[in-house]
């Protein structure tokens, strides 16, 4: 087991010491015991999958609440994207009288959008727009530059910036 992966033992310890507290903390904020239980459970699952044993041992409660908050943001994002995408799909399909794409394809698109949205959240408006104009709308670097009022060279810097941001998240 690598040095920076929290051992199962550490997480079990964390669980027995702090699970009750996390559940109560979540319940106070969510107003629902069942949701709090689900979320507390998922928080520990995520910690098990993560690689930050140090934060765990030093500030367990802060780490727990931070993880729980991140989890909620991710869920919120996923839900928003799912609804929005299905709504868009419905509108286009019904207007065009076309067929729905197969479910797997829909799920793939939703997951792709989820990943992209997570990256773009971290990025300023101009690099974000450059990234979408080039990779989603297919404009050349020069065309993107014209649209944004910057040089093609600046556009390339923006694109690199977004790619590096995505890598930092990975």
């Amino acid at each position: 087991m690598s040095a920076d992966h929290p051992s199962t033992h550490t997480v079990h310890r964390l669980y027995s010491d702090h699970h009750g507290w996390l559940h109560a903390w979540l319940q106070r904020r969510l107003g629902c015991a069942q949701q709090a239980a689900d979320l507390a459970h998922d928080t520990f699952l995520r910690i098990l999958a993560a690689r930050d044993a140090l934060a765990l041992v030093r500030e367990p409660r802060a780490y727990l609440t931070t993880t729980a908050k991140r989890l909620l943001i991710d869920r919120s994002r996923r839900q928003t994207i799912e609804r929005a995408y299905l709504a868009e799909l419905a509108a286009t399909v019904e207007a065009a009288g076309a067929d729905y794409p197969p479910p797997e394809q829909i799920l793939v698109a939703i997951e792709a959008l989820e990943q992209i949205a997570a990256v773009l959240e971290q990025v300023a408006p101009r690099p974000r727009e450059a990234f979408l104009l080039h990779y989603l709308d297919g404009l050349t670097h020069g065309e993107v530059g014209a649209r944004l009022g910057v040089s093609a060279r600046m556009v390339r810097k923006y694109l690199v910036q977004v790619l590096l941001c995505a890598e930092a998240l990975a």
């Binding site: 979540l26 106070r28 904020r29 969510l30 107003g31 629902c32 949701q35 689900d38 979320l39 908050k69 909620l72 943001i73 869920r75 919120s76 994002r77 996923r78 839900q79 928003t80 994207i81 799912e82 609804r83 929005a84 995408y85 299905l86 868009e88 799909l89 419905a90 286009t92 729905y100 479910p103 829909i106 799920l107 698109a109 792709a112 959008l113 990943q115 992209i116 949205a117 773009l120 959240e121 990234f131 979408l132 080039h134 990779y135 989603l136 709308d137 297919g138 050349t140 670097h141 020069g142 093609a152 390339r156 694109l159 690199v160 790619l163 590096l164 995505a166 890598e167 930092a168 990975a170």
Partner: protein, 324 residues
């Protein structure tokens, strides 16, 4: 940021540059770079994956843009959340919606006939049978020379079966089925069971996992559970018909919690409440289904101790205020 990431990013961006010669050069350099080290290959794969996924969305770029905007708006809302409580509440609400005990949204999207919240839709089938779908409903139609089957995926349907002695007509849900030769009845699919309101003539009812069938006469309602059939209750068929006709929800001495759950089924978004807090409050009313927000208004007027809040246009909370 590591060198590896910076090198990868620089190369990837050149792959779709404006100068065709540089694109070709970058392609060759990239291939060499990827093979030089497994970490290079891994980083390259991630970046190319991200870019590739966006490129795949190009045919639906408008939809993708719209979805990404919605996500960005949501993110700003979450960030601005006044207290941590409201941020979490909102996000969890959305997660709660995802976990509602209804079929996956994806299944319902592929149904043959579908209605949105608060909508009603009438259909005439190939054999002359008539369906009236309630709001937030979805059915699949499976007719063949030997049988006529309607799969009620979610919501409710009022059925007028055209007589056909050669083919039984069945309405099925995951909880069980209702079989008729020529009758009129309503099937409502709830989370844990399916309810049958028998209006004219007779049907046979069967649970999904049991062998017992029971004949149900008009003027009776029964809940079909996967493993058993509940006791029948008398209903006022005229009131039921009227409610369908006027698109209303008839509540006959139901707890407020159950009423809110029923209302939530007919409305986009969620209605949040604490069952324990609303203990003891009962409702007998006729609520407009086409306008669930008005229905909520009517309910809150009947119970002065209720406070209805709006977290978002879609998400509503119902709390009981205890005056000190």
């Amino acid at each position: 940021m590591t060198d590896v990431a910076e090198q990868a990013a620089a190369l990837v961006v050149r792959l779709t540059g404006d100068d065709p010669d540089d694109r070709a050069r970058a392609q060759r350099e990239f291939e060499r770079w990827k093979q030089a080290d497994p970490r290079h290959a891994a980083t390259a794969a991630r970046m190319e994956g991200l870019v590739g996924r966006l490129a795949e969305l190009q045919p639906r770029s408008d939809a993708a843009r719209s979805v990404l905007s919605a996500a960005a708006v949501q993110r700003r809302r979450n960030r601005r959340g006044a207290a941590l409580g409201s941020v979490l509440m909102l996000a969890v609400t959305l997660a709660f919606l995802a976990g509602r005990p209804q079929p996956l949204p994806v299944t319902a999207w592929f149904a043959d006939i579908r209605t949105g919240a608060g909508q009603q839709q009438a259909h005439v089938l190939a054999d002359g049978s008539r369906l009236l779908l309630g709001g937030s409903s979805a059915v699949d139609i499976e007719f063949d020379p030997a049988s006529r089957t309607i799969e009620l995926l979610r919501g409710s349907v009022l059925v007028d079966v055209a007589p056909d002695v050669t083919r039984p007509f069945t309405v099925r849900t995951s909880h069980g089925m209702v079989r008729a030769l020529g009758t009129r009845f309503a099937v409502i699919r709830a989370a844990e069971w399916t309810r049958l309101d028998m209006l004219e003539s007779r049907v046979d009812v069967r649970s999904a996992r049991a062998t017992e069938t029971r004949e149900i006469e008009p003027g009776l309602s029964v809940d079909i559970h996967p493993d058993h059939i509940g006791a029948t209750r008398p209903i006022d068929t005229r009131a039921v018909e009227e409610a369908w006709r006027k698109h209303q929800l008839v509540i006959d001495d139901l707890s407020l919690a159950e009423t809110l759950e029923e209302l939530a089924r007919h409305r986009r978004g969620a209605i949040l409440f604490d069952r324990d807090e609303l203990e003891g409050l009962r409702v007998s009313a006729v609520l407009p289904l086409g306008d669930p927000d008005r229905a909520l208004d009517l309910l809150s007027k009947s119970f002065p101790e209720l406070r209805v809040g709006r977290l978002t246009p879609w998400v509503v909370t119902v709390e009981r205020v205890v005056s000190e």
